[in-house]
Symmetry: C2
Subunit: 180 residues, 2 copies
């Protein structure tokens, strides 16, 4: 941030009184602007033992596979965001189940929250942000072509838990992008 | 947002191509600025059956009681934020335990993520944002003087689970502030 979103004048990074970190402070109106991580919400949709993945039509990671997920909007719950992203990216209807994972993607300033989900039918297809959608058995998952480390982590835990008949919550930190 | 944080020129709210919602788009440089909910992370610290609460020294809700919690910073995990807030607001050291609750505070554009926690000792005291800190048995909790509905919800579920010997995850949406 270089300019104040409220008044358009330059900001300076200063540690406000009583604070511990430098913040963008407007030199004109004095407003302190906090910058915080964003939430990504999504799910692993399942249909008769198979999981639904989307091949990305957009950058980053165009052409790679991911679970439906996207940025949480203002006024939206994380469950609603996971439902919406599944409808938008995979044209699929789901019931959101238990919490699967919370991954702190520190280098991207994002928190990825993933749920288990049940598809209501086998209907699915590519939304505008997807090239294709496909149901995969555990053995078929294209592990080397998963778009994001957080999704890779979540899918691994999903199957590990399913084999054990469990539904745990998994927490993970990603400090920097995995080398490709 | 009225002005572009990148170049200081006015923004207009428009629906960008391929998007569904109006976003702040700079009339000069064309940058699309997304506004998203913020994450608050905290915990319910326990010491020998009692929970640690803080009486707020700052607005909003000055003088009311809360569990230690605060905004997630860039580069910080939700566990680290809960630890840090507990150290800052209650001068207490804890081990973070299981996930207790995720509350979508829709009117405030916040997601509150609360954990169970164990205090490492009975040491605690007011940080700069607290007037006092105190350990409470379940019977002593000042339910009518809890600062935030999300904390009220989380504390209720905390004790319900503890009585049942369970550690569930609880999800809840708050649509508008509770009348006071």
């Amino acid at each position: 941030m270089k300019f104040c979103p409220d008044c358009g004048q330059p900001v300076k990074y200063l540690v406000p009184e009583g604070d511990q970190l430098p913040r963008a402070v407007c030199v004109a109106c004095g407003t302190v602007h906090y910058e915080n991580p964003r939430v990504v919400a999504g799910c692993v949709p399942e249909w008769r033992g198979q999981v639904l993945l989307c091949r990305r039509a957009i950058e980053p990671r165009r052409g790679y596979w991911t679970a439906p997920a996207g940025f949480l909007e203002i006024g939206e719950s994380i469950h609603a965001a996971a439902l919406r992203e599944t409808a938008e990216e995979a044209l699929a209807e789901v019931t959101i189940g238990s919490l699967l994972s919370v991954v702190n993607v520190l280098h991207a300033a994002q928190v990825h929250i993933m749920f288990r989900a049940r598809m209501l039918s086998d209907r699915h297809g590519p939304g505008v942000e997807s090239l294709e959608t496909m149901l995969f058995t555990e053995q078929q998952v294209p592990w080397e072509e998963i778009a994001f480390e957080s999704v890779h982590f979540s899918l691994e835990r999903y199957f590990t838990d399913r084999r054990a008949g469990a539904e745990h919550q998994h927490f993970h930190d990603i400090v920097q992008p995995r080398p490709r």
